[in-house]
């Protein structure tokens, strides 16, 4: 029996990364390396106004003085920043009017990913902005959205068409000097998504961005900026894949969310970057800074993430709860397998009165992987009657993997309540036995148990994503029990 179980683990851990193809599209790339000229080149390519170039240069000068953080429970091999291509764009007509004009190869790529832009457009009513090697290639549904006054476009378009909004909000939540990777991103970001929901508008469709790294030797540095004006609502989804390569590729993104009075943003991520092969070779370094600010009262930010990919994940989506009665939520399932490493969690900074935050984190580690939860809950003096509840569970599948929990709780007033609880365990033999004696085979039982374990988070995902996430979980984990 024990042997059977191990076989199942092996099978599962060997299951291939199915998004590991490359697409032959003519790419325009900048030379390798990073210096002020490259930054000027990127800026010029995007035809950027002066303030943006200055922002990039300031960030670059700051970045030169910064070091890669070492406090995370990760083994990060040294990154040669001069060996990365910082700009790669599909050679294309400068303006695309309809999907027909998009390079068919590119469309094929997205079809292979199961996110055919056309299909999405027709069937699910999801507006998609696809970012291919840092450059946004197509945004669907723009017309429908325009009716509501919603701006949903690539970052570079936003810079051209709405420079005042970009200037006002960019860098206001994640300052360029926040950390080494946000500084790098601020210096070299090539594109990304931009979204503005006007006052009182409830966005009728789910907005979605797909990221894909295609060219070898490139890094992906995209930037997302979401602004929800008073009383508005938007649900935003993000997905990502990359081809299989032997080398490590760097993905350093910045996501900023600004939520004004009474508004709500729901941000969901299914992260499935190439995790490297079963010996830990290759894979994406996913070093992402995501942060939202609840600026007005009664505003809300909800982060949901399913993390299954990347060789190394370093990611702490956070909420700054500045407005009174604002709410921050974080739901996460992080799965690591083989030699993957993840150090992820959430930061909740309570500044306003009666602010509430919830953190639910489910870590699952298998193979030789290393999975850590690291979170901060900070209640400031002024944040009276604030409330936090955190729950971080870890599930260990196999005896070579590890799971860690590093919560930080700082409380500075007497009317707030902070609760944190965490457990670490494996799937109990009793649970397995119970399922099996009902005639369910070992593999399905484990799938069942793991899905039940992660359900609390999965049910927070929008429908379209929940299906994908469940499948991903099944691929990554079914049957892995030690």
């Amino acid at each position: 029996m024990e042997k059977d179980k191990n076989n199942i683990i092996d099978e599962v851990t060997r299951s291939d990364y199915k998004y590991g193809f490359t697409t032959d599209i003519e790419m325009e790339t900048a030379p390798k390396g990073l210096n002020e000229d490259i930054i000027r080149f990127i800026s010029q390519k995007n035809n950027e106004p002066e303030f943006l170039l200055n922002f990039r240069l300031k960030a670059f000068r700051k970045w030169q003085k910064m070091k890669t953080p070492e406090w995370a429970n990760l083994k990060i091999p040294p990154i040669d920043y001069q060996d990365i291509i910082y700009y790669a764009a599909p050679k294309k007509n400068p303006k695309l009017e309809s999907l027909n004009e998009v390079d068919p190869e590119l469309l094929d790529t997205f079809k292979k990913l199961g996110i055919s832009l056309e299909e999405q457009k027709k069937l699910t009513g999801v507006a998609v902005d696809a970012v291919f090697d840092s450059v946004s290639v197509k945004t669907t549904f723009q017309e429908t959205l325009e009716k509501y006054g919603i701006i949903f476009c690539s970052f570079s378009e936003a810079v051209q068409n709405h420079p005042d909004l970009v200037k006002k909000y960019m860098g206001s939540v994640v300052p360029y000097g926040d950390n080494c990777f946000s500084a790098l991103n601020s210096a070299v970001f090539s594109d990304g998504s931009f979204c503005y929901i006007p006052k009182g508008v409830r966005c009728p469709v789910e907005l979605s961005t797909y990221f894909r790294i295609n060219t070898a030797g490139t890094g992906q540095f995209e930037r997302t900026l979401i602004i929800a004006d008073e009383g508005s609502y938007v649900s935003y989804m993000e997905g990502c894949t990359a081809p299989q390569r032997d080398e490590n590729q760097l993905h350093a993104a910045v996501v900023e969310i600004i939520v004004l009075k009474d508004a709500e943003v729901k941000y969901s991520t299914v992260q499935n970057w190439y995790p490297g092969d079963k010996d830990g070779k290759g894979g994406i370094f996913n070093f992402v800074t995501k942060r939202g600010i609840c600026k007005g009262s009664h505003s809300k930010i909800s982060w949901t993430q399913v993390e299954t990919g990347s060789a190394i994940t370093w990611k702490y989506p956070g909420c700054i709860l500045l407005g009174d009665n604002s709410v921050g939520e974080f739901y996460s399932v992080a799965v690591t397998n083989n030699h993957q490493q993840a150090d992820t969690g959430s930061k909740m900074i309570h500044l306003g009165k009666n602010t509430k935050s919830t953190i639910i984190s489910k870590g699952i580690s298998a193979g030789y992987s290393n999975n850590s939860y690291r979170g901060l809950v900070k209640i400031n003096k002024r944040a009276e009657n604030s409330r936090n509840f955190s729950q971080c569970d870890s599930l260990l599948l196999g005896d070579k993997c590890s799971a860690h929990t590093f919560p930080y709780i700082d409380t500075q007033n007497s009317s707030s309540i902070v609760e944190h609880e965490a457990t670490t365990s494996k799937i109990s033999d009793e649970q397995l036995f119970y399922c099996q004696q009902r005639g369910i085979n070992a593999e399905t039982s484990i799938g069942l148990i793991v899905n039940g374990y992660a359900k609390e988070v999965l049910k927070k995902l929008p429908m379209e994503f929940a299906v994908e996430a469940q499948k991903l979980l099944a691929v990554s984990l079914e049957g892995s029990v030690g």
Binding site: N73, L396, I409, H420, T424, S425
Partner: protein
């Protein structure tokens, strides 16, 4: 701007203290080394160069993130390398006993072992109790076999400093298969008219299947600033069991860095309490290494702090072998500007299967100026484990308060009752009945604000305990 200047100043002071200490070491080498066998001398030299390299911890070090000692270190301290000659009333130190609690009392006075008859005595059952410096002379092999073997903390400047300087402390040896029939009480008293910088080194060795209970009290008698840097190593051999109680009641100008290193062999059992009633800046570092199968460690803590007091509890449990259990429960009540830090770290090493580790930290904040930083960490490299941790920060339950008040009990007493009930969970774990009663009384007193710095060891406070009076107004019931 002003703040920056101040910061720089204190940084300069801190560096100057480090330099001063290094200079003192060179100048007083002869005095420090005078009793040392070669091995100890080597250790000292190694430790001082280590201290020179790492210096005092700063807030950039993860485990010192929330405890800033810059201000404390900027004071001017005096160091003594020989026992301070002054008239002390020995009888006063060993004054009164805890009612119904028979103990062997041993004492450090201003950092040096004091005694009535003999600096080192052997009990009929073979137990050796006495001065560390003396034990080093009389039983060098025994001491060297264990000395500095368990105190492993690479980045800890204080530990290195202690190893370099410490000359005296307490030594206890319990042979195999012996049950120490009396509780041993270690009393550490500070009473000097200048700002003392004291460094003690204690070594406790408990043989196979033996039993020992140890009460470790830190008290101060005056209101001078002082800095104590104590390192205690406790070796618990197979099947042995140790009860360890730390009681701290110090004045608000004291700084106490208390590092205890427990090394547990197979099937050994440890229960350790850290009870902090008063103290300027208290840091308790407990390192527990479960180095054999079937070991068990229960670590409890209670801190009741107010004014500007700062308490920092660090518990590091290393599950190095399978089938061990550990259990942590730390509770604290904070008033005024007090601040508390809890940093629990459970490490389950690879192949330490069948480990159970539980960790709980609960805090009550009574004012908006008090702060709590808690970090319950779990680091797990084995899969067949059951580990959990929980941390809460909150206040007294309004519903419970209302319920008690509705029974005619005044608000003040209702609060006292709830706080006492909160603390009682820890007190109830104390297994020695007379000690439990005594600590119970002290906690009640502390909560009423009546416990000051005693003239004597806190356990021996002369004034009799009054029964807690809840002033129930019967006419309203």
């Amino acid at each position: 701007m002003l703040i920056r200047v101040k910061k720089q100043e204190s940084r300069i002071m801190e560096i100057s203290l480090q330099n001063k200490i290094l200079k003192l070491f060179t100048e007083n080498k002869e005095k420090i080394f005078r009793n040392d066998p070669l091995e100890i001398m080597k250790l000292r030299k190694k430790a001082i160069s280590e201290f020179e390299r790492i210096g005092f911890p700063t807030t950039t070090i993860e485990t010192w993130r929330d405890t800033d000692i810059k201000k404390v270190l900027s004071q001017d301290f005096s160091f003594y390398f020989e026992p301070i000659k002054e008239k002390i009333d020995i009888d006063k130190i060993f004054q009164c006993e805890v009612p119904a609690f028979d103990t062997n009392i041993i004492s450090l006075y201003n950092g040096w072992y004091t005694y009535k008859d003999s600096p080192l005595f052997t009990l009929p059952n073979g137990t050796i109790i006495g001065s560390f410096a003396r034990a080093l002379k009389e039983f060098p092999d025994l001491v060297i076999r264990h000395y500095n073997k368990y105190a492993k903390a690479k980045t800890d400047g204080f530990k290195a400093l202690n190893t370099a300087f410490a000359q005296d402390g307490i030594f206890i040896y319990v042979p195999d298969n012996v049950e120490a029939y009396k509780t041993i009480q270690m009393v550490n008293i500070l009473n000097k008219e200048d700002n003392l910088f004291v460094q003690n080194r204690n070594l406790v060795i408990v043989g196979k299947n033996s039993k020992l209970s140890l009460v470790h009290c830190d008290d101060s008698h005056n209101h001078r600033s002082s800095f104590t840097n104590t390192v205690t190593e406790i070796f618990i051999n197979e099947g042995a069991s140790v009860d360890h109680y730390k009681l701290q009641n110090l004045n608000n100008n004291t700084t106490l860095i208390n590092s205890t290193f427990f090394h547990q062999e197979a099937n050994s059992n440890l229960s350790s309490f850290a009870i902090t009633l008063n103290g300027g800046l208290v840091r308790n570092d407990a390192h527990i290494k479960l180095n054999g199968k079937g070991g068990n460690a229960d670590i409890y803590g209670l801190y009741l702090v107010d004014r500007e007091q700062h308490i920092d509890n660090q518990v590091h449990i290393d599950h190095a072998e399978p089938n061990c259990t550990s259990n942590e429960l730390f509770k604290g009540i904070l008033d005024d500007h007090a601040s508390a830090v809890f940093n629990g770290h459970v490490l389950v090493r690879k192949d330490s299967q069948q480990t159970n580790a539980y960790q709980t930290n609960r805090n009550i904040l009574l004012t908006d100026k008090a702060t709590v930083n808690t970090k319950p960490f779990l680091e797990i490299y084995a899969d067949d484990v059951k580990c959990s941790h929980g941390a809460t920060v909150g206040q007294l339950d309004d519903d419970a308060l209302f319920y008690i008040k509705s029974r005619g009990i005044s608000e003040h007493n209702a609060k006292l009752l709830l706080m006492y009930a909160f603390a009682a969970e820890v007190i109830n774990k104390i297994s020695i009945q007379p000690l439990k009663d005594r600590i119970d009384d002290l906690v009640k007193k502390r909560l009423r604000g009546e416990l000051a710095i005693c003239d004597q060891c806190v356990l021996h406070c002369k004034d009799q305990e009054k029964n807690i009076n809840f002033e129930i107004d019967m006419s309203k019931v």
